[in-house]
Symmetry: D2
Subunit: 349 residues, 4 copies
């Protein structure tokens, strides 16, 4: 840490939306000094050329990964394409802590990784050291970790709802159906026809049918929670808006369980959490109530169909679903107050 | 029918969005003459004052229902608040056919009606005469009907998918979960805070949790199809866009059934239908591909979870989900070609 | 013309948005048979693979331009990148009429063309034969033309307002300021970062400052109307929506002219036009009232600043601003009723 | 000020969007304690019932204005309908400073007020004490003020561009044309048909033609800057998005002036300002680059038309155009650092 109590931070892959939101949030963090910003295809540019909205900040110019001087850094955030981070992390000096926003270290089982990502894992030894960066459920491990794998955006929303319920054995694990919806930022800044405004605007569509890579990640963590193999239906959809993610989960109650139990367990789990909140019955839930913030809202209801529950969770995919949660992890890893830099209230409208 | 081969048409409640879309579609129909347009709160106004986009049409001014001269009309479309239509229809001359877009005659069981709409049915004897206006499944009855109750928008999308599958006994009827999403026009033109642009824009939310009135309507028709009582989870959400509805249905296969059976039955059912189409595997499905048209698209997939299927249907809530289907019914009732006036292709982008 | 009274139509560059809207509109035209659809980069595909919303139509597969058999065609619509059409048109059989939607034949002065498009004109002899395809002002020439250059979308909206006023010498031609706004379809289907949903959504920006290629086109036609050189400020902006164009024009009245004169001239000019309409004072004007239609709305007002007028025009950039106007031109060129296939009313909401 | 260095703050009319954004921003301000929140029609409710997105904050319940205890307050922000604030402010204890977000004290000439607002001013003696709250141009007066009238959103964007240019006599004051565009939050939370999502979505329209109340406010301040009567064309439009305002100003240069002078003056004026920034030539400018922040961006260009300039300014109407600027004023009035609580970077996408 520098003499002004700041840690030196690098962001690898700073030209993506998660990179930009890390920079935005870092501006409000008293102990983060952005020392290195990499973006191979934009190296040499000012950051404001790539993200004009941050032109008022005083930031280092973009460089390539090869140009980065790791020795002065305390921590790096990696927002790189999958498969890439594994190689880079393996080559870093030991003192640099790593917070990975890609999928590279989320799956503990390297066979599962290979099945879903199409190639062998390049750093299986690091895989075993990586901690799954969901602070509400891995807080103590994260505090001690050198390598944290931040959850995907959908898994964050789904798991914050389901982990406590499966730990408490409240659901029939063969009945879990997750219908997920995300705004367009979830698709990234790459040029794809289906993410053009005129293609996605005024439209709602399904994608990744029966094959989205967040499914095995959700199943991994639910299986841990339940102590048994869990398989879920997971179907993502695209909403014509920028930010926000809404996850509707349907499940049957386990024998003897009730909606009261569900609400009790969620209340007990999150009562003292700064960023997760179970809404009272009757309160509306929507992405507009978390936009731009690190908050995740939960809502649980009995269905008309006896024995079935309706579970809703929502978050901003770029904040609690990505960059905000990454900073929350950083705060834990460096002994800062967990909420530092993350107290921005949601922006509505 | 007039000497120029036109039927004289009245639209009751012409100031709502379904009324406006009826007028828009009628402009392209060779045999519709709009003779009466009522809107009690706007009586005396030119229609273009209420809907400027139709200012190029030559239309009668708006009048109150009391001012309408029924004797000259051949058919009326009713887009009135529930409970209202029942009274008006009961007082009409016998020769006027009625196509109701409200919920007043959809539920055959008047007890169910009372349970969901909060008051006794005002015309139970008409209820028994009403035909459910889903042409693909009630075509012959509609041809002979004097009173047609057009299905709700969500039921249309859900039932076109599920009726053939339940008739063929392909699904476990205890497992059906319907996650539905609609654009804002589904909420109507009334002034409500949650439908303001700034409230709904850039937001996605759930509403009507475990209590939406389209649930009993869906269950009624599914029970008929299955020949047994069917209960479903039905949960609607609000998409930040104008038009379009997307319904994701999750269900377990019945013993012995397969995704191949599902696709086969849907293909067999709709092969010759002008407005319903099963997409090939791998084809994308989204509301933007039906916007403004009377088409309904279906898509069926096996899930990763063994024995479960993923079923998607989409339509324009104001056309196939409402006004377009109403005209399709009118065509059948008057012996016109079923597609007359409804061949507008979807407008994309 | 074929025995069923249909002309055989080719669309070159059918994979762009104007191509798709030509196909959509052609579906409602009784005399158009789509015989050739080209798109070099998609040759061999079904059209529905490129535009799923048109999957219900029976269309020829996409081919390359080289594969096209011109001999059987009566007319081609060209939606190709500028510079391309000039070469192709020059090589066509004489009997094929050409309706060009690109900028290739809009500018009569080939020096101006070179200045704005960066290369010599490839078919200057055709340039002199091309008729500017604004039917309301070049109707008789269009009827006799073999090559029609359809106006740009912005010029259509601006010129329909200004040509009559300049012909009548009602404006100070040194004072004309055009502030134009367009939805994202105006930017085409090409992959560009600034047209991604997440970049353009919830944002409004200016582009092409002091350098948009529609400026010389507007000035050419205004100079003809005025009989003198006219130069205008023209500044386009991007609206976060799909379709629609709104043009706000500010100008000082010529000595002795009044807003009454302005309205009188516009009324006289367009009273009998099927697609252009001057709104009454006090009526609202917005893109939502023309969406999907071939209509152009005009609205004229006195400003608070004495001697200045506020002129608003709006149209759907893909219809009256492009594909619809192209078909309107085709109707004139082939002696069809001018409104054939173009009577779709605007779709609102 | 309380012992924890906080001032006690009241927000009158806290149920409007400006009220909600004041609360949101106050959450990040180290010296603001929200003690009183009034909203007559919602009195008795928790604030989170009215604005669920702020449910994580610990806030006082809503009360009526009559229930407020002024004695303990240091400052009130007034977001009340025009005409109302005048009466309330006149009745307050002297020690309470007032920051008014309504139009009640913006116009120094009470005749002008009457002309535009339709009734006599109710507190003309306070009018003379009110300081116009545009910190970049009235900073010293604001520091000493007890009553600050915050500028309207459009005037803020227009004046930050034009005041320096008129002070420097760089523009022909008879040539100024302001084409302004705003997102829907500018229309407030009241229930109006034209601000429903389905009415405004996918649409762009003009409103307040030749009669918007921000015109006299802009003219008042420009006349002061120029030292002469200035009249401008001012025309607002509605953009289908939530937040953001974009103002395009067209003007002729004064004799002898150049675009270089324009840029020089803007640079000199704002070089050290924390919230206003002249963009470099070639940089893009759009509302998406200021969303959620207190920043205002400026961009100045020579037009193709000789002697004319194109001037663009953009801000978030709810922040620099309203609540953020109000807090900036509060900081000055209480001797806090001017940027306190206002350092949130823009949120993009």
């Amino acid at each position: 840490m520098s003499i002004d109590n700041k840690i030196k931070v690098g962001i690898l892959g700073a030209s993506g939306y998660t990179g930009a939101d890390l920079v935005r949030l870092a501006a409000a963090h008293p102990h983060m000094e952005l020392s290195v910003l990499t973006a191979n295809s934009h190296a040499g540019k000012k950051y404001a050329e790539v993200y004009p909205h941050l032109g008022a900040m005083n930031l280092p110019d973009l460089i390539t990964i090869d140009q980065a001087d790791w020795s002065q850094l305390d921590v790096i955030f990696c927002g790189l394409p999958h498969g890439t981070t594994q190689k880079i992390v393996a080559s870093l000096p030991k003192h640099v802590k790593v917070i990975d926003l890609s999928a590279d270290f989320r799956l503990r089982n390297t066979d599962t990784y290979k099945e879903w990502y199409g190639h062998d894992h390049f750093a299986p030894q690091l895989q075993t050291k990586a901690v799954y960066g969901l602070p509400e459920h891995y807080r103590e491990q994260i505090k001690k970790a050198d390598l944290v794998a931040c959850p995907g955006c959908y898994p964050t929303a789904a798991l914050l709802m389901l982990i406590p319920l499966l730990k408490a054995k409240l659901l029939d694990i063969n009945s879990i159906i997750i219908d997920a919806k995300s705004g367009l930022t979830g698709a990234g800044r790459g040029l794809k026809q289906n993410t053009l405004f005129a293609e996605a605007g005024e439209g709602f569509s399904v994608y990744g049918v029966a094959g989205h890579r967040h499914a095995p990640e959700i199943e991994q963590e639910l299986s841990v929670a339940q102590g048994d193999d869990v398989m879920v239906s997971f179907t993502p959809h695209l909403i014509p808006m920028n930010r926000g993610e809404f996850v509707s989960t349907y499940a049957n109650l386990a024998a003897g369980a009730s909606i009261t139990d569900i609400r009790q367990v969620l209340n007990d789990t999150y009562r003292d959490e700064p960023f997760v909140r179970l809404l009272e019955e009757g309160a509306g839930i929507g992405t507009q109530y978390v936009r731009g913030s690190n908050q995740c809202l939960l809502s649980a209801h009995a269905d008309r169909v006896p024995g079935r529950v309706l579970l809703f969770s929502t978050l901003d995919n770029l904040v609690k679903g990505s960059s905000g949660q990454a900073i929350q992890n950083m705060n834990l890893m460096f002994g800062f107050e967990e909420t530092l830099g993350l107290n921005q209230q949601p922006m509505f409208p």
